[in-house]
């Protein structure tokens, strides 16, 4: 029976797993199904492999019959985790340390599988995946392990004369049962990194990884079950119905990484949004961040939204151009083919300098990805057909297509787009209005570099803003006049590797921050604890109130010891 169902499901899922999901996304355009069969041999093998994994999971499910993850299952899941949380075990230092060690062990032992999953989902080159996902996650875990006892320690606070005599401290306590929703672009890092914070702070956690990166989602579900305490840490895989069911529940915190803008949603995600927005009927605008917040509003749940935005990179003419360009390329194409929330979205430079910049760009791109970048193994692919379509649509718009000066090649079968640079694209085009989230890089030129401030400030606040310049005054002005989640001068994306800095957005790029101690804080409540003594105090505090007491209170408040003494003795001047 078991074998039979596995076989049946295996056949079904090869046929229906991927094909069906694509069909769902584009119900009317049948021809879009074509990319699957013509994928190269290697890819097809990967797909078959991963669908087998899926089918195995499905087979287990069918044994227990109707195990659809609906609102009821979500409710019972939350109830179970709340039970664990209320038992108090997640609060203990030992539990937190054990779980964090579990994560560290998981990364060490299963690195190969993680890298493999990332290659399946995004063709992520190994070194890149190691740098941006494995090492970052490991670093976060190590830091938490090292600092946890320090973070958990109540913080002593000074007390003032108003509350004298007393002692005060700030105690960090876990929020409770928290939900982490992660995206597909760094599916491992952006799932596990917040989970590390949630665990360090002593919460019970549900992680919902993105279904757009199915191999990683599946692996996370498997690994977290294997390495961590399942009574308090769970993974729920799925898409629309599962997310809806989860968001119906009362959480003590929702941590969401993703997007608010329609353009870099795949159609599948867009469907979630539309469906979710129908569920919550608060806003029709198809933006997930808003859906999450609307769901949170129902239960007054605090949220952290890690979103994105159009991150500008301003390039001055006085820079070491080769270094600057290499750093831009590293943050754009060598970082998940631009599918990163902190990737430089567009460049602003002066009219005179643009030709030089482009020359060096062309040269360095060739250094990195070869003469024919479409054949390079060192760049990730586009995550899905839908995302590929959206990106090519950006390129094919009137007034945009003729602005391509480098690249522009694409291969829908392999979901690859060459590093593409465009010059002077008009502001009213889609590519300049929406976050690009792919390997396209428009260059905007201005007469004087200072004009770049207006360009940036005319758009919603980005998650990151970059400046390449040797001019110290410009550095200062940039920091003072531009609002962004974070800023990096003379480099790109590196700031998110720094655990001593908060990482998070402002305005449209999100709310709340994490990394290092900030992750711990994000999942903690800062409880004020005040210990009062029984020694004497001013009777002026208590009724019956008189004007004499008013005078005494005023003097006390002035903090002037002499006047206090005088007032207490009845010698006050006024």
């Amino acid at each position: 029976m078991g074998t039979l169902s596995v076989n049946l499901l295996h056949i079904c899922s090869v046929d229906s797993g991927y094909t069906r999901s694509f069909r769902n996304q584009f119900p009317k355009k049948r021809n879009l199904l074509l990319p699957i069969p013509v994928l190269n041999k290697q890819k097809r093998l990967q797909f078959a492999h991963s669908s087998f994994v899926c089918s195995a999971a499905l087979a287990v499910m069918t044994d227990e019959e109707k195990k659809v993850f609906d609102i009821e299952s979500a409710a019972s899941l939350v109830k179970e985790l709340r039970g664990s949380f209320n038992s108090g075990k997640t609060k203990s230092y030992e539990w937190r340390i054990t779980q964090l060690k579990g994560i560290g062990k998981m990364i060490d032992e299963r690195e190969k599988e993680i890298l493999e999953a990332l290659r399946k989902d995004l063709s992520k080159p190994e070194v890149e995946a190691f740098m941006s996902e494995i090492s970052m996650t490991k670093g976060a875990c190590k830091l938490a392990l090292k600092e946890l006892s320090h973070w958990m320690k109540p913080e002593k606070a000074k007390t003032s004369i108003a509350t004298y005599p007393s002692t005060a401290e700030i105690v960090s306590e876990p929020l409770g049962v928290v939900l982490v929703i992660s995206p597909w672009n760094f599916p491992f890092l952006l799932s596990v990194d917040p989970v590390i914070g949630a665990i360090a702070a002593g919460n019970a956690v549900v992680l919902k990884p993105s279904e757009i990166a199915p191999a990683t989602s599946n692996l996370l579900s498997k690994l977290l079950e294997e390495y961590l305490d399942n009574s308090s840490i769970r993974v729920v895989e799925g898409a629309v119905p599962e997310t809806t069911a989860l968001l119906e529940q009362k959480w003590d915190k929702i941590f969401y990484t993703g997007t608010i803008r329609c353009i870099h949603l795949s159609c599948k995600e867009a469907t979630i949004v539309v469906k979710l927005s129908r569920c919550f009927s608060t806003f029709r605008s198809p933006r997930v961040g808003r859906i999450i917040m609307a769901a949170a509003a129902k239960h007054l749940t605090p949220i952290t939204l890690e979103l994105g935005g159009k991150c500008p990179a301003v390039v001055d003419s006085n820079v070491n151009l080769k270094v600057a360009v290499r750093r831009i390329i590293a943050g754009k194409w060598a970082c998940n083919a631009g599918q990163a929330c902190v990737a430089p979205d567009y460049i602003i430079t002066t009219k005179d300098f643009a030709p030089k910049l482009i020359d060096v760009m062309r040269h360095e791109l060739e250094e990195f990805f070869g003469k024919n970048p479409m054949e390079s193994e060192d760049m990730s692919r586009i995550v899905s057909v839908q995302r590929f379509k959206l990106l090519t649509k950006l390129l094919d718009e009137d007034n945009v297509a003729d602005k391509i000066i480098i690249g522009g090649q694409r291969d829908e079968n392999r979901l690859k787009i060459a590093p593409t640079i465009l010059l002077d694209v008009p502001e009213d085009t889609e590519i300049m209005r929406e976050e690009i989230f792919g390997p396209l890089l428009p260059i905007i030129t201005v007469e004087k570099l200072e004009e770049s401030f207006d360009v940036i400030n005319s758009k919603p606040k980005p998650l990151a803003a970059y400046l390449f310049s040797e001019n110290k005054q410009l550095h200062k002005d940039f920091v003072n006049n531009i609002s962004a989640g974070g800023m990096l001068i003379n480099d790109t994306i590196l700031h998110l590797t720094v655990s001593s800095l908060p990482f998070g957005g402002v305005g449209e790029s999100g709310t709340g921050s994490y990394h290092g101690k900030f992750s711990f804080d994000t999942f903690s409540h800062k409880k004020a604890v005040l210990y009062r003594g029984f020694a004497g105090e001013s009777p002026a505090r208590y009724p019956p109130y008189t004007l004499g007491k008013l005078k005494l209170l005023k003097t006390l408040n002035s903090g002037n010891i002499l006047s206090i003494l005088l007032a207490l003795l009845g010698f006050s001047k006024d």
Partner: protein, 480 residues
């Protein structure tokens, strides 16, 4: 409503002009607030007397005095708060400098409530202007004299192009919420909070919600008469002596061990009489109920026959003067509204437990309150309360006083809200902490860049694990 649009445009212009970011502007606004508190003190007292019948001493202690302290703290700390904080950097980012640069959020909206119409308006306002934001304050229409005084004084003393008071009720509130804000700071009920947060969704505006809840006071047995006197005064001062219990951090109910309950009731009764007189209707030391609606809400709580029979002290009401006597109840049914809803008035139920330790389970079976109070010398119990219960704050052996402590954050958790303020935390509530790294152009880890090979992977691994020696070996080609 077109006026509102022009107002908001003006605020946005003021903010984008950059003037509110200047330290001098922030200082001048804080100084202006200080001037208001000094010069308009009498007017503030009168407004509070008019709206709530607050005694001058109470008004000074809870509003003018506390605010003066807060403005002074902001003024003296401003430079420090505004300074960028240096941060440490790991090897892969070398050589660089990193700092956290505090920047204002933009144009922010503050909704305040009627029970401390000045305190709860100006306390967040201090944070908002100190952080360099343009601000709209909407005071509660239920305290009309205070609301109008705030409107007139703020427009006279502060920069009215960047700080505005917009008066009105629900309609105005809803209208304000339809605009884009960079932060909404709300003090009030959880029902309205839901509407505020839902409205904030449209522009994913960050919100701080300062709500309330049923704040319990655990009352342990005391033997020393000095201790008894002291804690009873503090309980009563924190309940009846602070806006007649119309306080989000007021004591909502007392938990006490069965055997000690009679002693407690006796102590409370005696001290109540000493504080508010034989005939409390004549006292000047108790605020009145804000309005008819709240009066009848409180009256209904008591009118429940199963509750009425539990009154052990007080219970008298004067609808005309909106006055309710300090009222103490013994063991009202736990399913009665008085024990399920936040009381927000001068009614004080006492619930008896077999053991004082049972209070932890009792509190944990209810929504998380904004504050927990515990009157006890038992340090084991103190420890258990801190680690086993969850609430906005915990105060031992006193009540309400944590509001004046600006070195600890003030804010709720769960149903009592989220976000925190007071002191530096107020500044932070209206600030975005921008991470800024500045790099030189000289050194470079070439292994950062593609094309990738195994050697680069090895280097990366060493660099990220801070294995500097191994890093050197790979670098020199001595290790693979």
């Amino acid at each position: 409503m077109r006026d509102l649009e022009t107002d908001l445009e003006e605020l946005r212009e003021s903010y984008t002009s950059g003037k509110t970011k200047e330290a001098s502007w922030r200082k001048s606004q804080l100084n202006a607030l200080l001037t208001i508190l000094k010069e308009k003190e009498k007017d503030i007292f009168n407004a509070l007397e008019h709206d709530l019948g607050k005694h001058y001493a109470e008004a000074y202690r809870d509003e003018v005095g506390t605010l003066t302290k807060s403005v002074n703290l902001a003024l003296s700390s401003l430079k420090d708060w505004m300074a960028a904080k240096k941060a440490k950097l790991p090897l892969p980012a070398f050589p660089s400098t990193a700092e956290v640069f505090p920047e204002p959020l933009g144009v922010v909206l503050i909704f305040s409530s009627w029970n401390f119409p000045f305190g709860l308006s100006l306390e967040p306002l201090i944070g908002a202007v100190a952080a360099g934001n343009a601000v709209v304050l909407k005071p509660s229409e239920l305290a009309p004299a205070s609301s109008s005084l705030l409107a007139t004084t703020i427009s006279t003393y502060l920069d009215k192009k960047a700080v505005k008071v917009i008066e009105g009720g629900q309609v105005v509130g809803e209208h304000l919420l339809s605009y884009k804000w960079d932060k909404i700071f709300f003090t009030g009920s959880s029902r309205v909070a839901r509407a505020v947060m839902t409205a904030a969704v449209k522009h994913i505006t960050p919100v701080t919600l300062e709500l309330g809840g049923k704040c319990p006071a655990i009352f342990d047995s005391f033997s020393s008469s000095w201790d008894k006197e002291m804690v009873i005064k503090r309980v009563l001062g924190g309940k009846f002596g602070t806006c007649s219990g119309q306080v989000c951090i007021g004591i909502d109910y007392i938990l006490v061990q069965e055997g000690y309950a009679p002693t407690l009731v006796e102590l409370l009764k005696n001290r109540t009489v000493k504080m508010f007189g034989e005939n409390p209707r004549e006292t000047k030391s108790m605020a009145r109920i804000i309005n008819k609606q709240h009066f009848s809400r409180l009256k209904n709580l008591l009118d429940d026959p199963s509750v009425k029979s539990c009154i052990v002290h007080g219970g008298g009401m004067d609808e005309h003067n909106l006055f309710i006597e300090p009222t103490i109840l013994m063991n009202p049914p736990l399913e009665a509204s008085i024990m399920t809803d936040e009381i927000f008035g001068p009614l004080l139920p006492i619930i008896t437990l077999k053991k004082i330790e049972d209070s932890i389970g009792f509190i944990n079976s209810r929504p998380k309150p904004l504050a927990i109070y515990a009157f006890t010398r038992n340090e084991t119990l103190q420890k258990r309360i801190v680690s086993e219960t969850s609430s906005g704050s915990v105060t031992f052996n006193d009540a309400v006083i944590q509001y004046a402590a600006d070195t600890v954050p003030f804010g709720g958790i769960g149903e009592s809200g989220f976000g925190r303020y007071h002191g530096k935390f107020s500044f932070d509530a209206f600030t975005h902490e921008k991470a800024v790294i500045s790099r030189g152009m000289i050194s470079e880890f070439w292994f950062r860049f593609p094309p990738w090979d195994d050697n680069k992977l090895a280097l990366t691994k060493k660099a990220y694990s801070f294995d500097y020696f191994g890093f050197l070996l790979v670098l020199l080609g001595l290790k693979k």
